[in-house]
């Protein structure tokens, strides 16, 4: 499921955990959040789904027409 978990520590440190979004879209989703928090990314770990194609391209780039 496409879900974002945000944990805010007492000193204002924010952990953002994006789940269920494939490809580079997942970092795009949090760009507005990064900007409004001042743009300081202390650490970022890309996980498996980041390197997967989005669903519409999962068949090797051919579009599937309904």
């Amino acid at each position: 499921m496409n879900e974002i978990e945000i944990i805010i520590d007492n000193d204002g440190t924010v952990i953002v955990h994006v789940q269920g979004v494939k490809g580079e879209t997942c970092t795009g989703i949090t760009k507005a959040l990064e900007k409004i928090l001042g743009g300081i990314i202390e650490e970022r770990n890309l996980t498996g789904e980041y390197f997967e194609y989005p669903d519409q391209l999962a068949n090797g780039g051919e579009r599937v027409l309904a």
Binding site: I8, V14, L33, Y50
Partner: protein, 140 residues
Amino acid sequence: MSHVSKLATKLVDKVAVEATLKDMSSVSYLKIAQVGQLVSESAGWGNTVSGDFAGRIKLPNEVGDVGFALHRKSDEEAYELLTDTWGRNHDIVNEFMQSLVKKYALTAAVIAMATQGYGANQVYEDDQGRVHMTMRKVAY
């Protein structure tokens, strides 16, 4: 999952700062400057602080308050707290600033993620004081 990021929080967004200050029970009243102007508040021993926001922080046990202002030198910089930190005010002001930053982070996250179509599904505070928020795509 797709990515995990750790972000620091700086007070940079005027709309989110205003919403946060209005929501803080420790702020007894708040003045908001018009564009191009400043608002001021007295903050101990005849000093006055000025900024885009000014108001008073309640002291514990209803024994008075302390004036403050939040100001930033330019749109590219973060808001700074200006106030009287003398004596016992020091701890109260530090506590206020920590609370402000933490609440700002929550308010800012809700505002920013709403622009991406996400809404808060669950929000709770754990026994360490950390705020946990789960957000999902909002169905229109």
